[in-house]
């Protein structure tokens, strides 16, 4: 048996720039510290058990027929030929679901969503029919045998036209609908903000688009439904980030009593918010299992994943920032249009239809702020909160950090200097923002200064100045973000009426080993390791002696699951609290064993000892054995050593960070190269620094992806243009740099262990740094704005337009070529203006070799 005596109780966390080296096994931490992950031995052997790896006896396979058009009335569905396929067992359509009351299902935002179409399709890729066959190939074959007739309607694709009078009404299924409006929502003080803006020296305005993107986990979504008619038990194995919430929703929707439903979430190949919702395919698998009497598996393919499951963002933000001439930021304002697609399916706390977007005041001390968000329906896939966004903090952080840079341009001030002048000061915490958030703790300036030091900020600026002399395009971009995560206090936050609290249960076995049961669900974040480390830290038994159980509603306490970076802030707190309960109980038992009053005992990691007599002590293992044995227990103390708790967070936590991105842009092609990326994060107490670093790296890659290449776009007819990995580009190892990370530690004062959460910080914070760097690189050409994704084509056109503008300004007569082509960089480059001179030096050219409009494929 490993005992705590075998090795030091805690290895202090090392912060080193030395990426190599393994601590000897004797230095393994009992508690916090970098530690190999407990889940890895199965993954590196190919023994992970993901949904599609599961094979149940007699299992059938489902496939979804999807709409080919964005908006159309359904005229007819003919399934005769499909049903005649020898391997097809059943074909389900909306007509079959209607009598079961399952043709429509509630979304997570109190809207309804079509499961299988009954009246009309509302986005391309919408679920039309479900085929069940003996094998997956046959199910797919049969899809092609189904004949669907549509009466095509004009679609609403551009969110800005959704509210036009006369726009086609998408949701005519909803009683009394006369437009595509979903909600208006506001936060902050409108009048106070107007006053601040009216009196400000400087007001800068930008149209900031956060395009529709997709979380695209490497494993797509799916479910296996297994209905057992004899005892009426429904087991659903599924890729879910929130098993308990799913169970409740299935019970409410299907009428199957909740105690007869078991949700099992096996290993998940990435989630990022994509696996929060319940998709029509899952419901069809359940119906399929009930109808056929066999387990039914439905596993979507990549195109289905990209075209129909939860997208993210799609926020059109009109931003305004007000400041004094010397750079004191006074106010922020936004009027935002939110494109929610055909059904309002965002997964967010009920009271917050725009999520936590109103944290858009960021990390700055303002006099006033106001935001207004309008949600609209369009003929696109539903969703909206996904892709590591912390309930829209992503959009908020992007907006404010773009606006601060726009202000820096206007004031001709260094963006780092402008931020340093306006960041909240340590003594202002806890800080109540102008939109009502209570920031828990922060030492912002220290974090930004560390990032600047790591990046060598002043040297970078010098290098940039030299490069500009030579006409090279180098940019340095900053962002400083504040997250709000760990939703939430249950009195304010619920999803479909379910309060956002999480349970934990800890049992210490007689031999001193333990099992901890969680309501949250890992998708790669390493919960089996991190949560064992929390128990280890609090109880002093080694992490390898602690089994972490999660992902099975029959085996774990209730809770709302993993998204919005809430696992460590909520469930981590639950685990710390439940472990302390066990420790307190162990104290009473130790008192009985040592014949000392419990208040005379002192805790040292792993044991209770008598104050002033440290040799008189009992380890947790000894106490556990006694608790399960025959030792006379004190009055009121039950046998065994276990406890349960449900944690209701008193407040959210506020992780933050300072990011600096360095880019080089090829003036000839518009290709952006992210040369360096420095990220300093503060997530409070750090449980496993290795895992934290990994979380940050992944998020930074998301950020570069969104900034440079990721977009789910549509043509005018509503055809999805991002429906495969040929079109929806994700960074490979070639497009991202070796990440440079650092950290500061400012614990959360209200969290039991001071941890704030890290899962989404980098996704939230990084896109603005990249885009700010790109604009910074293009400043010599007169560029002061660009939208994501900054593909080579977009960057090239932005450069060309800027050059054309400056040529026009400096007089068309000086343009070297024919006026027709004034926008082409070559001609502009030939003009005498300073800007276009730089452009020419930067290698921007057309004509042989460089003339073609570079494609996005770069």
């Amino acid at each position: 048996m490993t005992t705590t005596a075998d090795r030091p109780l805690r290895v202090p966390h090392k912060a080193t720039d030395e990426p190599e080296g393994v601590g000897s096994p004797g230095e393994r931490p009992i508690g916090y510290g970098s530690l190999r992950r407990k889940e890895d031995p199965r993954f590196i052997r190919g023994k992970g058990r993901y949904l599609d790896d599961m094979l149940l006896p007699g299992m059938l396979h489902g496939a979804v027929l999807r709409s080919t058009v964005a908006h159309a009335r359904l005229v007819s569905i003919d399934t005769t030929a499909a049903l005649a396929h020898p391997k097809v067992k059943a074909v389900i359509t909306g007509k079959d679901l209607e009598p079961l009351n399952l043709a429509w299902a509630p979304t997570l935002s109190n809207d309804v969503q079509s499961v299988l179409v009954t009246d009309k399709v509302r986005f391309q890729g919408q679920e039309v029919a479900f085929v069940i066959a003996e094998d997956a190939y046959s199910a797919r074959d049969a899809l092609e045998l189904i004949d669907v007739e549509y009466d095509v309607l004009p679609p609403v694709i551009n969110a800005k036209k959704a509210l036009d009078p006369g726009a086609p009404i998408i949701r005519d299924d909803l009683e009394g609908r006369t437009d595509n409006h979903i909600f208006d929502w506001e936060s902050g003080d409108k009048e106070a903000t107007e006053k601040v803006f009216a009196e400000a020296d400087v007001v800068v305005t930008r149209e900031v688009l956060y395009p529709r993107v997709h979380p695209a986990p490497m494993e797509t979504c799916g479910a296996i439904a297994d209905y057992e008619p004899v005892d009426g038990k429904l087991t659903i194995y599924t890729t879910t980030q929130a098993p308990h919430a799913h169970r409740t929703v299935y019970a409410l929707v299907s009428g199957i009593p909740e105690h007869k439903i078991r949700i099992v979430s096996p290993d998940i190949g990435g989630g990022f918010g994509n696996k929060v919702g319940i998709y029509p395919g899952y419901v069809c698998a359940v119906v399929g299992s009930i109808v056929t009497g066999h387990p039914v598996k439905w596993m979507e393919d990549r195109s289905e994943n990209l075209m129909s499951t939860s997208f993210a963002r799609d926020y059109h933000m009109h931003g305004e920032i007000a400041a004094t001439r010397d750079g004191k930021i006074l106010g922020l304002r936004t009027d935002t249009l939110a494109d929610h697609g055909a059904f309002n399916g965002t997964a967010q706390p009920t009271k917050y239809p725009a999520g936590f977007f109103h944290i858009f005041t960021g990390s700055y001390d303002l006099q006033a702020a106001y935001c207004k968000v309008t949600g609209v329906y369009t003929n696109k896939a539903p969703g909206g909160v996904a892709y590591a966004c912390s309930f829209r903090v992503t959009e908020a952080a992007y907006l404010v950090e773009r606006m601060v840079d726009a202000l820096a341009i206007e004031l001709d001030m260094d963006p780092a200097e402008l931020r340093l002048r306006n960041l909240l000061k340590p003594e202002q915490f806890p800080y109540t923002s102008k939109t009502g958030w209570e920031y828990d703790s922060g030492e912002y300036e220290k974090t930004l200064r560390l990032a600047m030091e790591m990046a060598g900020y002043d040297d970078l600026r010098r290098e940039q100045a030299e490069k500009r002399e030579r006409g090279e395009l180098m940019g340095i971009g900053l962002s400083f973000f504040t997250e709000t995560v760990g939703a939430g206090p249950r009195k304010h936050m619920d999803i479909l009426g379910l309060g956002m609290a999480d349970g934990a249960e800890l049992r210490v076995h007689p031999t001193g080993k333990a099992v901890v049961r969680l309501s949250v669900q890992t998708q790669g974040q390493g919960h089996e390791t991190t949560f064992a480390q929390i128990v280890a830290e609090e109880l002093g038994i080694p992490p390898e002696d602690i089994e972490v159980v999660h992902g099975d509603t029959d085996q774990t306490p209730y809770g709302l699951g993993t998204y919005g970076s809430r696992s460590t802030p909520v469930s981590g707190a639950a685990v710390a609290v439940v472990t302390r309960k066990v420790r307190d109980k162990a104290r009473l038992i130790a008192g009985a064993m040592l014949e000392a009053p419990p208040e005379d005992l002192e805790w040292e990691k792993g044991r209770w000892f008598v104050k002033g007599d440290p040799d008189k002590s009992k380890t947790i293992a000894e106490i556990a054995m006694a608790a399960h044995g025959t030792v006379a227990l004190p009055e009121g103390v039950e046998a065994n050593l276990e406890a349960m708790t449900t944690y209701d967070p008193p407040n959210l936590t506020y992780p933050y960070g300072a990011y600096i991105c360095v880019v080089d842009i090829d003036g000839g092609t518009g290709q952006v190269k992210v040369r360096r990326f420095v990220a300093v994060d503060d997530c409070g107490t750090r449980i496993n620094p290795m895992i934290i670093e990994g979380q940050v790296h992944g998020g930074l890659t998301d950020g570069v992806g969104m900034a440079l290449m990721e977009i789910i776009d549509f043509d005018e007819e509503g055809n999805c243009l991002g429906g495969s990995f040929m079109d929806y580009l994700i960074p490979t190892a070639m497009e991202v740099p070796a990440w440079e990370t650092g950290h500061t530690v400012t614990p959360s004062p209200h969290h039991p262990i001071g941890a704030k959460g890290i899962g989404e910080s980098a996704t939230v914070g990084s896109p603005a740094a990249v885009v700010n760097a790109i604009i910074d690189a293009l400043r010599p050409l007169g560029v002061d704005d660009i939208d994501m994704p900054c593909t080579p084509s977009r960057v090239w056109h932005t450069m060309a337009d800027a050059i054309a503008r400056s040529s026009a300004k400096s007089g068309a007569g000086t343009a070297g070529g024919d006026g027709e082509d004034a926008s082409a960089p070559k001609q502009a480059g030939a003009s005498g203006s300073a800007q276009s001179g730089s452009a020419q030096q930067a290698g921007i050219q057309t004509g042989e070799g460089g003339g073609a409009d570079p494609d996005d494929a770069g």
């Binding site: 601590g23 970098s34 940050v696 991202v736």
Partner: protein, 183 residues
């Protein structure tokens, strides 16, 4: 039609539809589910296996075309209870999170190290550039491959037999950060 190939050193013969993809043959007919399936367009690489030692996207190859060839999957990395150094390295350097891309990444890395025992960071990035990882951001994969290369070099030098020991419990690893300041 009948197809015969060697998979992880074992000869297998199966009846397959001519259109059956190698990835489905491996996963479903052989039940070797460590090889994954992640896209419809041969872009993601979670399905990579080694065919005669070369990384191949098994979703891009028909099972029938693999007839007569030697296929190696992630399940074939561990030999006689001994982990391949690349497996140990991915655990040591946190080269995986959700684990979905990991089998393909490890196999490509294995093939790289077999061809080039001392690859540079750029060579490693290039080698895995046909595969997507949505979780790690690649730096830790690069570090894993470098670490495996070093372990293998050490083993070759006979300095130590480090690498694939049976002890894969919870080791302390160094903090990988480039810099840090703790309040």
């Amino acid at each position: 039609m009948q197809v015969t190939m060697t998979v992880n050193g074992v000869e297998v013969t199966r009846e397959v539809e001519p259109r059956r993809l190698l990835v489905h043959f491996i996963r479903e007919d052989l039940r070797l589910t460590g090889t994954h399936w992640g896209c419809d367009t041969s872009n993601c690489g979670v399905c990579v296996v080694l065919v005669d030692g070369t990384p191949v996207k098994s979703c891009t190859m028909l099972a029938a075309s693999a007839g007569g060839h030697e296929v190696r999957t992630v399940e074939g990395l561990e030999q006689s209870g001994k982990l391949d150094p690349i497996q140990d390295a991915f655990m040591e350097k946190h080269g995986l999170q959700c684990g979905f891309c990991t089998p393909g990444m490890m196999l490509t890395s294995r093939a790289l190290l077999d061809a080039n025992p001392d690859p540079s960071e750029d060579e490693i990035r290039e080698a895995i550039s046909g595969q997507i990882c949505r979780c790690t951001g690649y730096s830790t994969i690069v570090r894993s491959v470098r670490w495996a290369a070093e372990q293998e070099q050490k083993a070759r030098d006979g300095e130590s037999a480090a690498g694939s020991t049976a002890d894969e419990g919870t080791h302390e690893t160094a903090d990988h950060e480039t810099a840090g300041a703790t309040a």
